[in-house]
């Protein structure tokens, strides 16, 4: 009976994290972006600095009429947001925030493998949405999303493999356990490539060509309204949480910190992930959108060679010190 309770509690925590952390990132984006652009951002909802803005948004979304265009492929169109969103929920389960079994939803031995495989499913949601919308621009957006995933999944895989090589395991917990501070300079190229590729997979600016409003309106999500649209947005922010968490765990040493008491490791994990989330927002404000061919070029001619070089470096160093 205790086991069942334990599992239920873990599922509940993961689910609550899945519902709240993306909102935190979203609210942070509202405020950080605004201040970087010399604005105030939301100030009214909830009273204190507009903290309840996204809650209000959610209430608004839930009340909006749900429109499925007459020409759309109804079932696929309606299912697409769920397909885009749920993979991130699954990934959150296996990301460890602290040492031991207590601070991770569930230890999955093939952690990296599981994470990369499941995250890739999310793009199907965008592709389904683009395909089913009966909208030329949506179709283009969906195809761009797919092309972007194809281009950037590869450097992501390769750099993740580099960390697996360094740690000698594919378990996420095992990787952080094996972490030493000098991995930071050793794996820095891999870390940057992984993070950039992750951003591109999430279609975050400056890699938001699939939703480029000046060309294809809002890409695959153009025809969506109300709750379904909100789920797509939630997927984007859940993706940021997952990406920052993963980068922290794989490259920044997770719960290891230069100082701090035992048992507070999870603070380090959350802190690092929060800083990365800030960087994600910062990049959005800083860089203009890359053109489609520039996107592909960046992936294939820069990130993939860099990640291959990182693997070579990892291999040599690892064999030499072994």
């Amino acid at each position: 009976m205790n086991d069942a309770l334990d599992v239920a509690l873990r599922l509940l925590v993961v689910f609550v994290v899945f519902l709240t952390f993306p909102l935190l990132v979203g609210q942070a984006e509202h405020k950080v972006m605004a201040h970087m652009q010399g604005r105030l951002g939301p100030m009214y909802a909830g009273g204190f600095h507009g903290w309840a803005q996204l809650v209000a948004d959610g209430v608004k979304f839930a009340q909006k009429e749900d429109i499925v265009p007459a020409g759309a492929d109804r079932r696929i169109f309606q299912l697409a947001p769920a397909v885009a969103l749920l993979p991130y929920l699954m990934v959150l389960l296996v990301i460890p925030v602290g040492p031991g079994e207590g601070a991770v939803g569930e230890v999955v031995d093939a952690g990296i493998f599981f994470v990369l495989a499941v995250m890739g499913v999310s793009v199907l949601g965008s592709l389904m949405a683009g395909w089913a919308s009966a909208n030329k621009f949506s179709l283009l957006g969906g195809l761009r999303t797919a092309a972007q995933l194809l281009a950037y999944e590869l450097p992501m895989l390769l750099t993740a493999a580099s960390v697996a090589m360094a740690a000698g395991t594919v378990s996420l917990t095992g990787i952080v356990d094996a972490f030493e501070w000098w991995w930071l300079p050793w794996q820095i190229v891999g870390a940057i490539v992984f993070f950039v590729a992750g951003l591109a997979e999430l279609q975050r600016p400056p890699f938001d060509m699939p939703v480029a409003d000046s060309e294809i309106i809002f890409g695959a999500y153009t025809e969506y309204t109300g709750l379904r649209f909100a789920l797509f947005l939630l997927a984007e922010y859940a993706g940021i949480v997952v990406l920052c968490g993963l980068t922290t765990v794989l490259f920044l040493g997770g719960w290891h910190g230069p100082w701090g008491a035992d048992g507070l490791g999870w603070v380090w994990t959350l802190l690092k992930a929060a800083v990365l989330a800030f960087v994600v927002i910062w990049l959005r404000v800083t860089y203009p959108r890359l053109r489609e061919d520039q996107l592909q070029k960046l992936a294939w001619t820069l990130l993939v060679p860099l990640s291959l070089a990182q693997i070579a470096l990892t291999g040599i160093v690892k064999v030499v010190i072994a």
Binding site: F113, E153, G168
Partner: protein, 133 residues
Amino acid sequence: MPDVPEPTVVAADYFESYSVVGLLAVVGVLFVAVAFGAGRLLRPVVPTPEKLMTYECGVDPVGEGWAHTQVRYYVYAFLYVIFAVDSIFLFPWATVFAAPGYGAATLVEMFIFLGFLAVGLLYAYKKGVLTWT
């Protein structure tokens, strides 16, 4: 290699951790179902022909949703399939390559592997598929 008896790993035990993954998937599906179901109760439903028309870019759409377009990305799809299938093999290898007794041999293997990938990429680059104007 010394004769160490391998600990018996029952497949059922190994996959046990995935049962929680499955449970979470159920939670997720329930969440979406409840959200959509509750949404149905909350929101108005007043369809009109104008509303149900494809929005597209705000102007009434011309022709069908299926437009002819040049899909340039298919080359990338090929490249991706080739590379990604290769890269997958890195993961099992990564867990053992530095084990005592392997050392230099696996390193040479790694460079051969990377060489294949690099040559493939170089070939695609020379062929001009990675640039378009």
